[in-house]
Amino acid sequence: MRALLLLLVPALLFSQPARDTCVECHTAMDGAIQRPALLIKDDVHIANGLSCADCHGGDRGSDDMSVAMGKAKGFVGKPSRAEIPQFCAKCHSNPDYMRRYRPQQRVDQFELYKTSVHGKRLAAGDQNVATCVDCHSVHDIRAVKDGKSPVNALHIPDTCGRCHADAKRMAQYGIPTNQLEQYRTSVHWNALSKGGDLSAPNCVSCHGNHGAKPPQAESVSAVCGSCHVLFQQLYEKSPHQAIFSAASGGGGCTVCHSNHGIHQPSTAMLVGPNAVCAQCHDKSTEGANAAEKMAGWIDTLGASLKHSEDVLSDAERYGMEVSEAQGRLADGRENLIKARLAMHSFQPEEMHKPILAGMAIADETLRAGQAALKEKDFRRLGLAISALFIAITLAAIWLLIRRIEANGSGYLDTPAPK
């Protein structure tokens, strides 16, 4: 045992990292052939102990180019665009291999890719569609969680937009190229880019990533419903479900909310010149009247809660203790949310319960705020009256002192203590 240790210690002391002649030689070259060797230092595969030869084959330990890049050593060189998905899948579809590095990593990317529009078109011979490297980059592939990765949640819209916002590239497919532009006006983009909420939806949240394709009309509500669960449940039971599903060019939620440019919803969607309801429901019809009624309720509750909030804030500014009422106001806001949610049943009576509950809370908190302000006035009046009494008392004491001391009484000329 001791002898073995004696042999091991010098081996450990003098051991050096394995050479990589691929990087060494390509770094010394110029132009495009040098680029991979320069990029590879940031690659997640290299960070996990892999090398060029693990993808491209060959012998990274040999100085002899014919050996290092020889077929005998399994060198396969650069794959064609059509071969790329299969090339990556050699490892990424192999659970046993992937388990060594990322035990929780999925291994179905290639299977999904084959079902995607990209995958199908590639299989059909279209070399213009996205393959793995178009999204993940190549030779400087970073982990998805890495903020610099093109497939990090923050960069997904730009990565997809690189092709899908390119009118020239998309011309042959006849699909619009304004999705990115519209998405950047949406609440989802605001949440992602300004709010820093990485869970906010980006392109892949709705379209899928490796299996990317546009959601069909009947699956749109399921796509939105994967986050907006309760909205979907109500919508599925509503009379609009059947009608919207049959709509051409999309359906479900997108009929009213659009798809990529989803804006903050408001009652202006129900009534007014830009109302989406008015696109189908003519004025004075039952549907238009219901929309008007629901908008009125929501606006009234919203305004009432805002008024209560302002009055409570006023009271708080004067130092009044109104935290209990402010806590109650949160329940009122919850009812407003419930009312907005209930609207998706498109049955006004479904909204009535949360609206009434919310209005009761708005009224209760308003009274609490007004009482606090009244109490503030009472306190100040009390202060003024007591200040007056104190002033009168002070004046009376001062007069008493003057009377007592009128003839010098109370003062002695004996020496003071040291």
Binding site: E321, S323, I390, T393, I401, Y411, L412, A416
Partner: protein
């Protein structure tokens, strides 16, 4: 009838002796007489604390589950509860301020000289007790700010050399601020500290009566007139107390003491957490000291420094006079100005930064 009752009481309580004392008590009248009022203001505010604190006890519940809600109940449901609680909180702060002014007036008028060494020492201990009242009372509403400020305070106390960890454990009743801390702070605030304070206040006042009020050394005694305490000075003192009461009422009515949010030990500490203003100077000093000075921990060095200064300050009657018992006026006034400027400047810096 009244005479009969008076005579009966006099027979048993010896009222005539008290009357005699009151009749002969005098106050020197000179340019620094106004500083005498601060002792009275401090005593008056302490009385306010005792009365309002007792009233708060009727409703306050010293538990983690009910502490915050009971204070909120006092502020919102109890008739004039807001006034009592706000006056208690404002008065606590004004009391500490008045006690500091009183202490510095004693320093600058050199009233610590023989035979008032014990009056000075009892006063210094009382000031420490007032700070103890402030520290323990601050936690009782069990709100977010007080919870985290107490954590910081207990940690600082825990850095004291040798005995620090034991002090911190005793203060907290465990390794962290929690339910045991609240109950023991409550016990300290309403029982332990008041009993010690009551005894020391009695001693302090008796010593003031016994030795009389000191005249500053720069005023020739032959030129100082005396004013009778009863009723001349006492009436003036009542005027000052009334004034203080008006200020307290105004502060309570216009700026009711905030309650904040209920303490949540799992929440992250609020930004810019800092102790009450009367601990800010020391807090800011500790922040300025590097983590290590040589081989000594910075915080340890700071605390040791505070300890040395506090002991030296308590021993002022020893080093502040010469062999003849005369005040070393330049030295003491210089030290007093230095300490006052340090406290004011560092308190402001601690508040601003």
């Amino acid at each position: 009838m009244t005479a009969k009752i008076t005579h009966w009481l006099d027979d048993r309580l010896g009222l005539s002796a008290i009357r005699e004392l009151a009749a002969h008590k005098t106050v020197p009248v000179h340019s620094a007489t106004r500083w005498y009022y601060f002792g009275g203001i401090t005593l008056f505010l302490f009385g306010i604390q005792v009365v309002t604190g007792t009233l708060l006890l009727f409703y306050y519940r010293p538990t983690v589950a009910e502490g915050f809600d009971s204070v909120r109940f006092i502020m919102t449901r109890v008739e004039f509860g807001w006034l009592i609680r706000s006056i208690h909180s404002w008065s606590a702060n004004l009391l500490i301020f008045a006690a500091f002014v009183h202490m510095f007036s004693v320093v600058f008028t050199h009233a610590y000289r023989r035979p008032r060494e014990l009056t000075w020492a009892s006063g210094i201990i009382l000031l420490g007790l007032m700070l103890g009242f402030g520290f323990s009372g601050y936690l009782l509403p069990w709100n977010q700010i007080s919870y985290f400020a107490t954590k910081v305070g207990a940690d600082v106390a825990g850095s004291t050399p040798v005995i620090g960890p034991a002090i911190a454990r005793i203060l907290r009743g465990g390794n962290d601020v929690g339910a045991p801390t609240l109950t023991r702070f409550f016990a300290l605030h309403v029982m332990v500290l008041p009993m010690i304070t009551a005894a020391l206040v009695a001693l302090h006042v008796i010593l003031v009566q016994k030795n009389g009020m000191s005249t500053p050394p720069w005023i020739p005694l032959s030129r100082v007139r005396q004013m009778k305490f009863f009723p001349n000075f006492f009436l003036r003192e009542v005027m000052v107390w009334y004034g203080a009461l008006a200020v307290l009422g105004a502060l309570a009515a216009i700026f009711p003491w905030e309650l904040g949010e209920k303490a949540d030990p799992f929440a992250s500490a609020p930004k810019g957490i800092r102790p009450e203003w009367y601990f800010l100077a020391q807090f800011y000093t500790l922040k300025l000291i590097p983590s290590h000075v040589g081989f000594i921990e910075g915080e340890l060095l700071g605390l040791a420094g505070f300890g040395v200064v506090a002991v030296a300050w308590a021993l002022l009657p020893v080093w502040g006079v010469n062999r003849a018992g005369e005040a070393r006026t330049r030295l003491v006034t210089g030290a007093g100005i230095f300490l006052a400027v340090y406290l004011v400047v560092f308190t402001i810096l601690g508040y601003v930064k």
